[in-house]
Each structure stands twice: as structure tokens, then as C-alpha cells.
């Protein structure tokens, strides 16, 4: 069970990472977080985990917290990749960004983002948000198991 990652945090700014981790720590989730510092890293991580699916069923994260302003591969791109891959598309993605641009929001939803949050400047509020996040996506929300997904995909492919 050492490889279990519940949350994949994709964020480039160190300080933001620290703040996020601090907030998550207060929820006792810090052991199960993997941080990717850019889009490329995030996708690589996911690919790797996907490969391990055969041997270890629960290696995919339960939720991906995605910042949009990322170097190399842009947040939107990452989102597109995740949501177009047959396995990773089942992982809920929550965009966590400081952008208030409608364009970003619309695009994200169009690509199938599961939730879109704007980081408040107020830290207290930020902590509250994170708490709610964790509670919802890790505890309340239900996800299909990897094997179930695989089985369905096989059926879908044969029906094509």
C-alpha cells in the first residue's frame, strides 16, 4: 500500500505548493499526495501509474488538483490529455487556479473538468476550501474501480 496516492497536485509555484500542503496537512492527507511541478511531470506520473495497473489495482490517484498556469505543458493541455485517455479520463480533475478569466473556465468545462475552483487570497478561506475538497472528493464521491473500467472499455471496444 506504499504506493497509494490519493491526490495528485499539479502546481509549479513552490510557495503555492507549500500553502497547499499546509492546508492539506491539517486534514491528515499529506502522506497520500504526489506533487508534479509541471504538466510534463504530471502526465509522466500518470502514464507510469497506468502501466502499473495490471499488478496493482489501486495506483491511480482519486483526484487531480490542477493549476492552469504551468510551464512546458499548459494546464489546459494536461487536462485535455487526461480526459482523452481511456483510463485516466475516469479520474476527477479539479482545477485550482487564481485565474478569474471566463475563457479558462469555459475551456476547462468543455474539456470535461469535474470542478473549477478559484484560489482565494485569504488563507483561512483557502484552508476551508481545501477541507471541503478533501471531504468531498476523497470521502463522499464514488469512483469506479480500475478493473471495472477496464472491463467496460473492452466491451465498448468490441461494440465499435
Amino acid at each position: 500500500m506504499k504506493n497509494v496516492v490519493e491526490i495528485l497536485l499539479v502546481e509549479d509555484n513552490e510557495k503555492d505548493i507549500e500553502l497547499a500542503l499546509y492546508a492539506l496537512r491539517s486534514e491528515n492527507l499529506v502522506n497520500q499526495i504526489h506533487v508534479a511541478r509541471d504538466g510534463e511531470e504530471a502526465l509522466q506520473f500518470l502514464a507510469q501509474r497506468e502501466a502499473e495497473l495490471a499488478s496493482n489495482q489501486s495506483v491511480l490517484p482519486k483526484v487531480i488538483l490542477l493549476d492552469l498556469k504551468l510551464p512546458k505543458v499548459d494546464g489546459i493541455q494536461v487536462l485535455r490529455q487526461i480526459k482523452s485517455s481511456p483510463v485516466t479520463k475516469f479520474i476527477p480533475v479539479v482545477v485550482l487556479t487564481s485565474s478569474k478569466e471566463d475563457e479558462d473556465m469555459v475551456n476547462s468545462y468543455r474539456l470535461g473538468v469535474n470542478s473549477y475552483l478559484q484560489k482565494p487570497v485569504n488563507f483561512e478561506q483557502f484552508c476551508k476550501m481545501v477541507k471541503q475538497l478533501g471531504l468531498y472528493w476523497l470521502v463522499v464521491n464514488r469512483l469506479p474501480t480500475a478493473s471495472a473500467v477496464q472491463a467496460e472499455n473492452k466491451v465498448a471496444v468490441s461494440q465499435h
Binding site: 500553502l19 499546509y22 487570497v121 488563507f123
Partner: protein, 862 residues
């Protein structure tokens, strides 16, 4: 063998038409035999009655005899019974009793029967009396005891025998009397029978003979009557046939025929009369004859004339049909008399002369028409006789000579001319040659006015072919002369005008010649000299390919185009299809020199192009600037925010972590850092909003302010839940605005109002509508701390604040945003305030009226 009665009968027949008389005779015929029969019957009945009566009496006598026989026999029976008793010694009581009974019975019967005869009655009573005595005697016998013979019995017997004999004697008397009676009655009866028969036969024969005689008479009369009637019938049929025939003749006549009585009433009509009047026979008969004419009085006079004179010929009248159509007729009528020779009435026949009249009318009309034509002619017309005298003129002749028709007719034709001899020669020529053409003369009017004319004349002949006279028409040519002169003058004037025009005018023929050109043309392009246009204009040998002018002939429509002439100048050409005086096609061309205009236009065009370019460049610049601004804003939004977040975050963390270590002062400093960060965030937020406003497209819609305000108020409620706030929202209209932006305006204004009324309890915030100078203006009024009008100019400035930060938080951007939004809508915003009293902010969306005047929402609507 006609008897007197026959003659009378015949006379009767002759006068007999009366059916009443006939019926009377018939009655009589029946009555007589009937009466006689009745008489006969009566007599017979009487006689028969007699007979029956006598026979009855006979029978009666027989009955008496019969009953007396029985009576006597019963007595005998009693006697026998008594004797047998004596003889045998046995009492024959039964036989005796039976006889006794019988005697009584018969006596009663007989007594009744002979009641009518007193004598017989007496006799019978006697018999009975005696018998009764005998019975008494016999009774003793009957009481006889066996074997006892007593002397009383023999006495009795003797007595009895005496009595018995007496009885017998009486009986015999009675019977004889009765038989005598019977014989007498028998005689009577026979006599009566004889009478009856005789009477019957006799009467019957008598009556029979009478009847036969009478009947014969009647039959004779009847047969005479019948044959007379037959004859009459035949006569009548013959008469009817004759009358039908004559009736048919009358009806067949096409002429309306009537008979008129002395008092002027119609007594009979034929079908033709019905047709011509349109009334039925029934209506006509009995009505006044005159009613059906257009001139009733004339009609009346007509028939009266007939009555007086006996006849009338060809009397003209006009019959009016019910439809209104009038038929002209000539009446021919005569009287007719009865057998006594007295006039009974008038028989009138009408001859329809409509056709004839119509022909006359047509002729009249035709001649009127002809006359009309002659009179209408403007040319003076005359007819001239062989001797040179005028025989007829029209009105025009009267006019041209100034003399009346009466004066002219009969006078010499030549009198009215300036050259009488020439005139005479003229008409003589017509008589000689038969006609004359365009013979010039001059007519003199009485006023002295001379009229130049040309004469055209011909002879006219009578039906026999002889020349009767000359018919002459004069054509007035003074006008023509005058017109020609005027035309020449006009032409000259026109020519002058053309020459003075600042445009050139040239006429071109289809074969490229220019028969006419004005001064302008000649000055610019020189004389044509009979050359074609392309020759003398351009020195070419062929027509120009791009000549628009000649397209006019092709299309038959005007052309307009621009041309550069051989002198290098620009011309605006107008080409028109034009017809020469003789009708041949020409082109009229007009050319305006527009060289200067062209130049000016060219300049304008160049300038425009330059301007366009400049505008484009400027736009490009602005767009570039805008893009920069957007990038700037984006950067502000993200890049400035991030560090801010970090500062805040870490200072919070620090506060948490270092709480046990930090003292109050340190903690307070950290808190201040937090506050500063928050402040900065707000500023950034506001700045971002403001800049976005500058870029944003306004999407104007009809927007209900009432509901918008209510929504904003509701959204602010959580913030003021601990406060006492009185909202006074009155009717707010629909306005045309961007709803999102308007929401921001309201939010900012209300937030401000709430903020600055915080010290007030209650805070009263009023939102409503006012009319200022006829325009609707929205206001937000509060009873807050207000502001001094000294600083009103700073109110809407960016980051300008009129209060200290510690008293009232805020970035000073709110009102700037409001102003920016309102200005973007093309409206106005301003404020009024008083320190410690409150402030009122006004805005109106358009400098004009609010465009969409939607119906007002009533207060407190949902």
C-alpha cells in the same frame, strides 16, 4: 192539319225562349193525371168499403145463425140428457151440465152479436127466459132418485115439454127473422158488388180516355218544341260559326281595332289593341278610349267627330304602351248602326305609322346633322346660283363678312371681295370646269378687315343631273400666314438662346453630320463645314469605337456620359433622340464643361483615401494599445495575486505556528499585515473591474430596475442581519441597459449607502424615480453621514475618498466604477449631500429619454 191550338202552340214556340214557361207546362202535365187518379182511387175505395161492409153484415147474420144453432143444440142436449135420465133412470148429469154450460156460453155470444137488433134481442131474451123455466123443471128431473117415479115428474115432464115447445117456437122465430135479415143483406151485398165493379170499370175507362187525350196533347206540344229547339240550335250554330269567323278576321288584323260606345267607352278590342296598349282585353273593355293616348283630348275629339260626321280618315294620334313606348298611328273610323238604324257605336282601326314616322324623323335628323356639319365648319361655305347670287350660307360666312344670312342670301357673291371681278371669274370657272382648287381671294368684312382665303368649289346637280349651283368653301389662310411668321420669329429666338448657353448644343445625323451647332460648340470645336463629326473633331477617317452618342440611335433612349474633347477638357454629355421637322431621326447632344468639377472631385477622393488610411492606422494603434491593456490586466489578475496569496498564507501560518511564542504586539503586527493584504486584494479586484469595463461590450436590454434592486437588496441582507435597515423602494421603471453592469451600479451604490449609514439606527435607504426636466432620473438616498458639497468633485474620482480609512473602509473605486458604467451608457451621474444628514446619488441612463417605456411595475410586485 194545324189546329188553333197548334197555331197557339207555334206562337208559343215562336216566343218561347223562356224555360220557366216550359217548366210550368210540364208541371201541369203531371198534375192533371195525378188529380184524376186520386179521384178514381177515392171512389173505388168508397165502393169497396161499401162492399166489405155489406159482406160483413152478411157474415154477421151467418154467425148469428150458426151460434143459434149451437144454442139450440145445447138445449137439445139438455133435453136429451133429461129424457135419458127419465128413460134409463140414470142421471146423465155430465151431459146435462155440458149442455147447460154450452147454452150459457152461446147465449152470451148471441146476445152480444144481436146487440144491434133490438127485436132479435128481445126474442133471444124470451128464449132464454123460457129455457130458464124449462131448466127449473128439468132440474127436478135431474134430481131423480133411482127407481122413484113420482107424479111430479110427469107433471114436470109435461111442463117441460110445453116449455120445450115454446122454446122451439121462439127459436124458429128467431131463426126465421135472422134468415130474413140474412137474405136482405145478401141482396144488398150482391148489389153493392155490382155497383163497385161497374163504377170501377166506368171510371177507369173514363179517366183512361181523358189521360190518353191529355197525354197526346202534351206529346205533340213537346215534339213541336223539340223540333223548334233543334232548328234554333242549328241556326245558332250557324250564327256562332259566322261570328267566330268574323271574330278571327278581326283578331287576325294587325291593326288595333276598337269599338267605342256613345259615351266614349271601349266595348270591344282585338288582340292587336291589347298588344299596342299593353293591357288585357278585360282591362280595356269598359274603360275610356282616350286613356291610352298621349293626347287624350285629341282622341276624344276624334271619336266625337266620327259620331258627328259618320266617319273620320287618317286621324293622327299616338298610343302609349304601359312600358312607356309610344306608337304613332293614323285612325280610320266609322259608325255602325243597329237594326233600327240608330248609331250604336264607332268602329275604329289604327294604322301604325311608326315606321313611316321613323323614316321621316331619320330624314329630318339626317338633314339636321348635315346642317349641323355645315354650320360647325369654321370655313365659310356658300352655295351660288347660276346667276352668281348666293343661295345659302353658313355661320362662318356670316362671321367673315360681318353680315347676316338674310342679307347675304340673294345678293351677288362677288360683292364681298376686294377684287370682285376675280371672284366672278372664279365661280364662272367652276361652272365651266366643274371645280376649282385653292383659288386665292380676299374677303372684306364690313369693319374693313380683310381675310385672305383660298377657295375650293364644285358644282352640284339636281336628281335630274342638271347643274343647280356651285358649292364653295373658303379656307382662311390669314392664320396660316401669321403662324408662319410667328414660327420664324420663334426659331430666331430659340437660336439666340442656344447661342448664349454656356453649354454646347449640336444636332447630329445618323450619318455623322452636324447640321446644327450653337455658338459654344463652334467656338470650342470649330465649323463642321459639311464634314463628319469624327473628321472635324478628331481628324479620324472612321467613326470612334467608343462613341456613346450613337448608342442613342441603337437604343432609342437618352444617354449620359463623360467625354474628354479634343481640347482636352472634360464634358458631361447628354444625348437625346430627336426628330427633325420632317420626322427623320437625329441626335441632340448637349455638353457641359465639367473640367473644374472633375479636378475638385479628384482632390476629394485623394483626401478621402488618405483619411481612410489614417483612420486605419489609428485604429490599428488603438487595437494594439487595447491588446497591451488586456495583457496588463491579465498580468495584474494573476501575477500580482499570486504573491499576495503567498504573503497572506504564510502570515497566517506564521500566526498559527508562532502564537505560543509571539507577544501581543507581534501578533498585532501580523494581523495588520493580513489586513493590508486584504486591502490590496480589494484594490486589485476593483482595478480589474474598472479596466474590464473599459473593454467590455455593452449588451443593452430592457431591464427591470425594480426586480434588480430587490435582488441586490436581498443579496445584501446577510450582511446587515444585525442592523436595523429600512428600505424604501418605490416604483422603478424598465430601462435599457446592460443588466450585469447595472447590477454592479446598484450594488456599489447600495453598498455605499449601507456603509455610510452604519452609525444610524435605523438606517433609511430610499431608492426611487424622479422626473427632472421631463426626464426620468433614478436616485439612491440615505440618511448616513453624508458629505460636504465642497468636495463633490472628488466623489467619483479614482481612489478618491472623503473619509478616513479607519472610519470607513473602502478603496475609493466603487463610485468610479458607477460613473464609468453610467457614462458608457451615455448617461449622467451626480450626487448631493450634507454632512451628517445624508447623501443622494442620482443617475439617468440617456441624456435623452429612456428608450423603452415598458409598463411600470406596480409596487411590491414579485
Amino acid at each position: 192539319m194545324p189546329t188553333d191550338s197548334d197555331k197557339a202552340g207555334a206562337a208559343k214556340i215562336a216566343g218561347m225562349v223562356d224555360p220557366h214557361l216550359f217548366r210550368r207546362l210540364m208541371r201541369r202535365a203531371f198534375l192533371l193525371p195525378f188529380v184524376l187518379m186520386l179521384f178514381l182511387a177515392g171512389v173505388l175505395v168508397w165502393q169497396v168499403q161499401q162492399l166489405i161492409s155489406s159482406m160483413e153484415w152478411l157474415d154477421h147474420a151467418d154467425q148469428v145463425l150458426e151460434h143459434s144453432r149451437l144454442y139450440f143444440r145445447y138445449m137439445v142436449d139438455m133435453e136429451t140428457a133429461a129424457y135419458s135420465t127419465i128413460a134409463s133412470g140414470i142421471v146423465s148429469r155430465d151431459e146435462y151440465a155440458a149442455g147447460q154450460t154450452g147454452v150459457h156460453v152461446e147465449f152470451d155470444t148471441l146476445r152480444t152479436l144481436v146487440a144491434d137488433n133490438a127485436q132479435q134481442g128481445r126474442r133471444l131474451d124470451n128464449i132464454q127466459r123460457v129455457h130458464h123455466e124449462w131448466e127449473q123443471v128439468a132440474a127436478t128431473i135431474m134430481q131423480f132418485d133411482q127407481g122413484i117415479r113420482t107424479p111430479s115428474r110427469s107433471v114436470s115432464l109435461l111442463g117441460e115439454k110445453q116449455l120445450m115447445d115454446q122454446t122451439r117456437r121462439l127459436q124458429t122465430e128467431f131463426v126465421n127473422a135472422e134468415q130474413e135479415l140474412r137474405a136482405a143483406r145478401l141482396k144488398r151485398s150482391s148489389g153493392t158488388r155490382r155497383n163497385v165493379l161497374g163504377a170501377a170499370m166506368g171510371l177507369t175507362l173514363l179517366i183512361g180516355a181523358m189521360l190518353a187525350f191529355f197525354t197526346r196533347n202534351q206529346i205533340e206540344t213537346l215534339s213541336r218544341l223539340f223540333s223548334a229547339a233543334q232548328v234554333e240550335a242549328v241556326q245558332r250554330t250557324a250564327l256562332r260559326k259566322a261570328s267566330l269567323y268574323s271574330r278571327s278576321l278581326l283578331e287576325a288584323s294587325l291593326d288595333p281595332l276598337v269599338t267605342i260606345s256613345r259615351n266614349g267607352k271601349i266595348t270591344d278590342v282585338n288582340e292587336a289593341t291589347e298588344k299596342v296598349t299593353g293591357f288585357s282585353r278585360d282591362r280595356l273593355i269598359g274603360s275610356d278610349f282616350c286613356d291610352y293616348f298621349t293626347e287624350p283630348e285629341k282622341a276624344r275629339q276624334g271619336y266625337q267627330q266620327v259620331f258627328e260626321a259618320g266617319l273620320v280618315r287618317d286621324y293622327a294620334l299616338a298610343i302609349r304602351h304601359t312600358s312607356g313606348q309610344v306608337v304613332d298611328v293614323l285612325y280610320n273610323a266609322s259608325v255602325f248602326r243597329n237594326q233600327q238604324g240608330e248609331i250604336e257605336g264607332v268602329f275604329a282601326a289604327a294604322r301604325d305609322i311608326t315606321a313611316r314616322k321613323q323614316a321621316q324623323d331619320a330624314l329630318h335628323k339626317a338633314s339636321l346633322y348635315t346642317r349641323g356639319l355645315l354650320e360647325a365648319s369654321l370655313d365659310p361655305l356658300v352655295t351660288i346660283a347660276r346667276d352668281g347670287k348666293i343661295t345659302d350660307v353658313n355661320e362662318a360666312t356670316e362671321k367673315v363678312t360681318g353680315l347676316a344670312r338674310d342679307r347675304l342670301i340673294g345678293s351677288d357673291f362677288s360683292n364681298y371681295f376686294t377684287e370682285p371681278e376675280k371672284a366672278r371669274a372664279g365661280y364662272l370657272q367652276v361652272f365651266a370646269a366643274g371645280f376649282v382648287r385653292d383659288y386665292p381671294l380676299a374677303i372684306r368684312h364690313t369693319s374693313g378687315r380683310i381675310t385672305d382665303v383660298l377657295y375650293n368649289a364644285t358644282v352640284f346637280k339636281n336628281p335630274q343631273g342638271q347643274v343647280e349651283g356651285v358649292f364653295a368653301a373658303a379656307r382662311d389662310i390669314t392664320e396660316r400666314k401669321r403662324a408662319q411668321e410667328a414660327l420664324l420669329a420663334e426659331r430666331q429666338r430659340f437660336s439666340d438662346v442656344l447661342d448664349k448657353l454656356p453649354v454646347y448644343v449640336v444636332l447630329l445625323t445618323p450619318d455623322y453630320h452636324a447640321p446644327f451647332a450653337n455658338r459654344f460648340f463652334l467656338d470650342r470645336f470649330g465649323q463642321a463645314d459639311g464634314k463628319r463629326c469624327y473628321e472635324f473633331l478628331f481628324g479620324r477617317t472612321e467613326p470612334c469605337e467608343i462613341c456613346e452618342t450613337y448608342k442613342v440611335l441603337e437604343k432609342g433612349a437618352p444617354q449620359r456620359w463623360k467625354w474628354i474633347g479634343p481640347d482636352g477638357r472634360h464634358y458631361d454629355i447628354y444625348d437625346f433622340p430627336f426628330a427633325d421637322t420632317d420626322g427623320s431621326p437625329l441626335i441632340m447632344e448637349m455638353g457641359l464643361d465639367i473640367t473644374e468639377q472633375e479636378r475638385a472631385e479628384e482632390e476629394v477622393r485623394t483626401l478621402n483615401a488618405e483619411l481612410e488610411q489614417r483612420v486605419e492606422d489609428r485604429t490599428k494603434e488603438l487595437q494594439a494599445v487595447n491588446k497591451e491593456l488586456e495583457a496588463f490586466n491579465y498580468a495584474v489578475a494573476h501575477d500580482l495575486r499570486a504573491p499576495l496569496r503567498h504573503i497572506h498564507g504564510f502570515s497566517e501560518i506564521l500566526t498559527e505556528e508562532a502564537k505560543p511564542v509571539l507577544d501581543e504586539s507581534a501578533q498585532r503586527h501580523l494581523q495588520l499585515i493580513g489586513e493590508s493584504v486584504r486591502h490590496m486584494e480589494q484594490l486589485l479586484e476593483d482595478l480589474l473591474s474598472l479596466s474590464r469595463l473599459g473593454r467590455q461590450e455593452l449588451s443593452k436590454q430592457a431591464c427591470g430596475l425594480q426586480s434588480l434592486v430587490e435582488e441586490v437588496v436581498n443579496s445584501l441582507k446577510p450582511e446587515i442581519k444585525d442592523r436595523q435597515v429600512e428600505w424604501r423602494i418605490s416604483d422603478l421603471p424598465f430601462v435599457e441597459c446592460d443588466p450585469g453592469l447595472m447590477r454592479q451600479v446598484i450594488t456599489n451604490l447600495l453598498t455605499n449607502a449601507l456603509k455610510f449609514t452604519r452609525p444610524r439606527q435605523p438606517a433609511i435607504i430610499e431608492i426611487g424615480q424622479q422626473m427632472i426636466e421631463g426626464q426620468p432620473v433614478i436616485f439612491v438616498r440615505d440618511n448616513g453621514v453624508g458629505f460636504s458639497m465642497k468636495y463633490v468633485d472628488k466623489l467619483f474620482g479614482l481612489f478618491q475618498r472623503l473619509h478616513r480609512q479607519q472610519d470607513f473602509e473602502g478603496t475609493g473605486v466603487g463610485l468610479a466604477i458607477v460613473q464609468r458604467i453610467i457614462h458608457r451608457h451615455g448617461g449622467l451621474v451626480w450626487a448631493e449631500g450634507e454632512l451628517n444628514k445624508g447623501a443622494t446619488f442620482y443617475f439617468q441612463l440617456h441624456s435623452g429619454a429612456v428608450e423603452t417605456e415598458a409598463p411600470r411595475i406596480p409596487e411590491h410586485a414579485a
